[in-house]
């Protein structure tokens, strides 16, 4: 177990750069692509994932010694499903408009690979403190990537950020960026940029 345990510092570094879930591990694609048409839904999504990630990491870490190997994944998904229900009800009660925009993508957090991957790779092997820190920073890393992608798409598609116009007057909105095409291509170029930067560094 010696090389499996990690320190809280590792978790911070991993979440913010070396293991950013979307860019490095290509996990959690479907919410990343679907909700990034504008910054506000992306931010809401990121914060919901952050909440679910931290809670499920803590619970999984608490029950890590009781789990039977073959029932592991089922217990993870049930834990996650419970917290996602809480998040969904919260959003529906306090931001009904946002909940409508996000639609089925909030319950789809249940099958977001990031959360299961963290439960498996970190929370089921580490203590409660490290798991919680890992959840917080993985969530922050995910939120940041989502917001960057969303701001690129929102600026090019409608010329605003968070509904505040930022582009010059004669700017022609680029409607394709709102559509699935824009999501795929922007994310592809972003991944290419990250690869390019890290290749330059090393």
């Amino acid at each position: 177990m010696a090389n499996n345990t990690m320190t809280a510092l590792d978790a911070v570094k991993g979440g913010l750069w070396t293991e950013v879930p979307v860019l490095r591990l290509i996990l959690g694609m479907c919410p990343t692509l679907a909700v990034t048409t504008a910054v506000k839904p992306a931010l809401t999504m990121g914060l919901s994932v952050l909440f679910v990630l931290v809670c499920s990491n803590i619970v999984v870490s608490l029950m890590r010694n009781l789990l039977k190997p073959h029932l592991r994944i089922l217990m993870f998904t049930l834990t996650i499903a419970t917290f996602v229900t809480i998040a969904d009800l919260f959003l529906r009660a306090f931001t009904p408009k946002m909940s409508e925009i996000l639609g089925p993508y909030v319950p789809l957090i249940i099958v977001n690979c990031i959360i299961i991957a963290r439960a498996e790779a970190c929370a089921s092997k580490n203590g409660i403190f490290v798991s919680a820190v890992d959840g917080i920073f993985m969530g922050i890393g995910f939120t940041i990537v989502l917001c960057i992608l969303a701001s690129i798409r929102e600026v090019l598609a409608v010329g605003t950020i968070c509904d505040v116009p930022v582009m010059w007057k004669s700017f022609v909105p680029w409607a394709a960026m709102r559509m699935p095409v824009g999501a795929f291509i922007t994310l592809g170029l972003m991944l290419g940029l990250v690869n390019f930067l890290s290749a330059k560094k090393s």
């Binding site: 290509i26 996990l27 959690g28 694609m29 479907c30 692509l33 679907a34 994944i73 089922l74 998904t77 049930l78 499903a81 419970t82 996602v84 229900t85 969904d88 009800l89 639609g103 089925p104 319950p107 789809l108 249940i110 099958v111 977001n112 690979c113 299961i116 394709a176 559509m179 699935p180 095409v181 824009g182 999501a183 795929f184 291509i185 994310l187 592809g188 170029l189 991944l191 290419g192 940029l193 690869n195 390019f196 290749a199």
Partner: protein, 196 residues
């Protein structure tokens, strides 16, 4: 005759026009991860089609016969994920007992299907769209699986060719796949609006 027509339209709509991978981004993870070779992609597609049909029908029945009459909608997500995990487990046991060669060829894909967003996504969308008759729910579930198979097989075919082409080093692997996927969605957008 009218009913058959409606079902046929629903099928074409979910396979081509409203393909879940291209318009709703569901199942993008396996779509990018497993599309390296055509035979593997086809195996994955078939496994997903099987489970999605089963899960779609079962969750629709549970939703309409248990959850709605008794006002238990709050437990919907937990129920759905349990049904899907159970269906996957069942399919796995059944295949291992009766079709060992098929089981061998699916390999690791079967357990992975539990966390495939197409399946949970379809079950949720059936609910969002308010599908209220049983045949339509069944046809939509089956069609979603076929649509996923179509998408992942096209992608695998393209990627087998990309391997021989000269891609800039930093775009190699996932980035070029994403860009290809983007262009592919553009092609499928030509079908948009043909059927509601």
């Amino acid at each position: 005759m009218d009913k058959v027509y409606i079902l046929l339209m629903a099928f074409i709509s979910i396979v081509v026009v409203n393909n879940l991978v291209f318009t709703k981004f569901l199942g993008t993870c396996p779509y990018l991860g497993v599309s390296g070779r055509i035979d593997m992609a086809f195996g994955m597609g078939m496994a997903v089609t099987f489970v999605i049909t089963l899960a779609g029908i079962l969750t629709w029945l549970i939703d309409h016969m248990i959850l709605m009459p008794y006002g238990l909608e709050i437990t919907r997500y937990v129920c759905y994920i349990l049904v899907i995990a159970g269906a996957v487990q069942l399919v796995e046991m059944y295949l291992r007992k009766f079709f060992p060669p098929l089981y061998e060829s699916f390999g690791i894909f079967l357990p992975l299907i539990t966390t495939n967003c197409v399946i949970l996504g379809l079950c949720l969308l059936l609910n969002v769209w308010g599908t209220d008759n049983f045949p339509e729910a069944a046809v939509l579930s089956f069609g979603a699986g076929i649509g996923f198979t179509l998408a992942i097989c096209i992608m695998a075919g393209i990627r087998e060719q990309i391997r021989f082409s000269d891609v800039p080093k930093c775009l190699d692997g996932a980035p070029i796949t994403l860009i290809t996927a983007g262009i592919l969605t553009l092609a499928f957008m030509g079908f948009a609006g043909m059927i509601k």
